[in-house]
């Protein structure tokens, strides 16, 4: 049995490791307590892409980079900011599918143990990201009467936990020989948003419909020099107005405090 000693040790280690991953019965942790990344704080948009469509109000009829349907192009061509103002719809370009592309600052806090609150100074909007299981939440939402549509819609979110950090290998025997750390770093937040009020992807009236579905992945990067960056991979699906799924990935840099927070109301023209 002496020769089997090392193998037995490996068995014990593997089973202990596996058990730790499965988790012993413990009281359920709140989404706030189980957050693999800390998104709270003040974040500023870094506008190095699509500058011409984000930093100024682009000219009417300019929808380069957005794969619009013919129906959507007609809507964009009919854009009239005065009409939006008269209808009290100055916030049409600040809805969830567009908000994170609007140049500004974002303040992220925990509203409670299950809800992240994302406030923007541009347009003074608030998104509420309710964290749980996205699919379960969406399934149960289908059985309920539709909530009132809003610019920010209803956002269900869930943490995507990182898997153990084992170098990718090709031989199972090699995989078994490595001891994976049990608490890998990283992770991200998946957010799915529905129940939107129809709005604009861009200030110049490039539209999305109320049936648009927004899916986001929030990924954090803490650099060795202390900087923190946030990339939000953003996917907008809207078969009525978009010929393809629209994919963008705006970037944000964390700021030390809210000294540059500058709330401004929605504007149809600027």
């Amino acid at each position: 049995m002496k020769k089997a000693g090392p193998a037995l040790l490996l068995v014990v280690c593997s089973l202990v490791s596996l058990e730790a991953q499965r988790g012993n019965p413990q009281p359920p942790r709140t989404p706030r307590a189980s957050a693999p990344i800390d998104l709270t704080g003040y974040w500023v948009s870094i506008v190095t892409q699509d500058w011409r469509w984000r930093m100024v109000t682009p000219r009417k009829g300019d929808y380069q980079g957005v794969q619009l349907t013919s129906e959507a192009a007609k809507v964009a061509d009919a854009w009239d900011p005065a009409k939006d103002e008269a209808a009290g719809e100055q916030c049409k370009s600040y809805g969830a599918p567009a908000l994170m592309m609007v140049p500004g600052r974002f303040h992220i806090t925990w509203q409670d143990d299950t809800t992240l609150k994302v406030e923007s100074d541009a347009g003074t909007q608030t998104r509420l990201l309710r964290i749980g299981n996205v699919q379960t939440s969406l399934d149960s939402a289908r059985d309920k009467p539709a909530e009132t549509r809003t610019w920010q819609g209803v956002s269900q979110a869930q943490w995507l936990m990182p898997r153990p950090n084992v170098p990718l290998q090709l031989r199972p025997a090699d995989r078994a020989a490595d001891t994976p750390p049990l608490n890998p770093s990283g992770g991200s937040l998946q957010v799915v948003t529905r129940n939107l009020r129809a709005g604009y992807l861009r200030k110049n009236g490039v539209p999305y419909s109320e049936n648009a579905v927004l899916t986001e992945y929030w990924d954090l990067y803490k650099r060795p020099n202390g900087e923190e960056w946030l990339t939000i991979t953003t996917q907008v699906e809207d078969p009525q107005y978009l010929r393809n799924v629209r994919l963008t990935a705006p970037m944000f840099k964390k700021e030390p405090n809210g000294s540059k927070w500058d709330p401004t109301p929605c504007s149809s023209r600027w």
Binding site: A4, Q64, A173, P184, G187, Q190, T231, T233
Partner: protein, 309 residues
């Protein structure tokens, strides 16, 4: 059960028990560019909007004449590593195993026409001395942070970073983040350059895994005589003197964006810069051409040979 059988059974248990913890993100395959950003899509030669250029970076960009690439010694000059994000082609990821252990040794992003391959060493080797030779592809190491691959490139040669609009020097560093979510791969690049940038230049691009790649493979480059004037006078270096770039005002004329924004600078990438623009910007007349309009609908059935049911 005999001794050998017991040991064999234990080994099998170890292997089976280890399987659930062994998976990690696989980047292998061809990733088609599907992002909607304007990375590298600028039409006007002087479009430095949102680029955090230093004074030297701006001067370098505005003195550049693309005809310089026709000089014999520059025809095979490749784009620098950040071009993986701003260029037009897919990313082809290949896993490089150690020849003996078969463990992951490196990821390779294959090159295309005018971009060298990027080898991301995953075995913990250090970056070479700053005096080591520089290459078009640079030297890159990587490490996993959870499910995210972080890679750092140094030792790349000078090159243009936004398709002939701005440059990175041979002292630049690129930090990449590769985040895979299902069939979506988001690549974030942070370019830092003490010579031509005043602040980090950050870019992102979104790719989707594809089984129908449309690649443009890297091929050997052979200089030819492109411009007779350069061939006859090798001392000639095409360039523009300060303030003499003929396309300097194109963006302003077309989009009414003030020239001070067009020539970039770190302040142009922050939201508060909009306050400086607000009183200077007047929205131009509606777009009439090159506006991204949807394709025209197909001709009605029954004309052009289509059969009616």
């Amino acid at each position: 059960m005999g001794h050998k059988a017991r040991v064999g059974a234990l080994v099998i248990i170890v292997m089976v028990a280890a399987v659930p913890v062994s998976a990690q993100v696989d980047l292998t395959g061809t990733w088609q560019r599907v992002g909607s950003s304007d990375n590298g899509a600028a039409r006007e030669p002087v479009d430095l909007l949102g680029m955090p250029l230093s004074a030297d970076g701006r001067a370098k960009a505005l003195s550049y004449d693309i005809a310089a690439l026709s000089a014999t010694e520059r025809q095979c000059q490749m784009y620098p590593p950040i071009y993986a994000i701003v260029g037009p082609f897919p990313l082809q990821f290949v896993m490089v195993p150690d020849p003996v252990t078969q463990k992951l040794l490196a990821w390779k992003i294959l090159g295309w026409g005018d971009r060298d391959e990027t080898v991301i060493w995953m075995d913990g080797r250090p970056h070479p001395s700053k005096y080591a030779p520089h290459s078009h592809g640079g030297f890159t190491t990587g490490a996993w942070e959870g499910d995210t691959l972080t890679a750092v490139t140094t030792h790349a040669k000078l090159g243009d970073i936004k398709r002939h609009r701005g440059f990175s020097s041979d002292r630049a560093t690129v930090t990449y983040r590769f985040n895979r979510h299902g069939d979506i791969l988001t690549v974030t690049g942070i370019l830092e350059d003490p010579v031509y940038l005043a602040e980090p230049y950050t870019l992102t691009e979104v790719f989707r895994l594809t089984t129908n790649p449309n690649n443009f493979p890297l091929t050997a480059c052979e200089p030819i005589e492109e411009l007779p004037s350069l061939h006859e006078n090798p001392a000639l270096v095409p360039h523009y003197l300060p303030g003499k770039h003929p396309a300097m005002n194109e963006v302003t004329e077309r989009y009414n964006i003030p020239l001070e924004a067009v020539v970039g600078g770190p302040e142009t990438m922050y939201p508060e810069y909009r306050k400086k623009l607000k009183d200077k910007y007047v929205m131009p007349p509606p777009c009439k051409e090159g506006c991204g309009a949807p394709p025209a609908p197909p001709p009605p059935a029954g004309r052009g040979g289509a059969q009616q049911p």
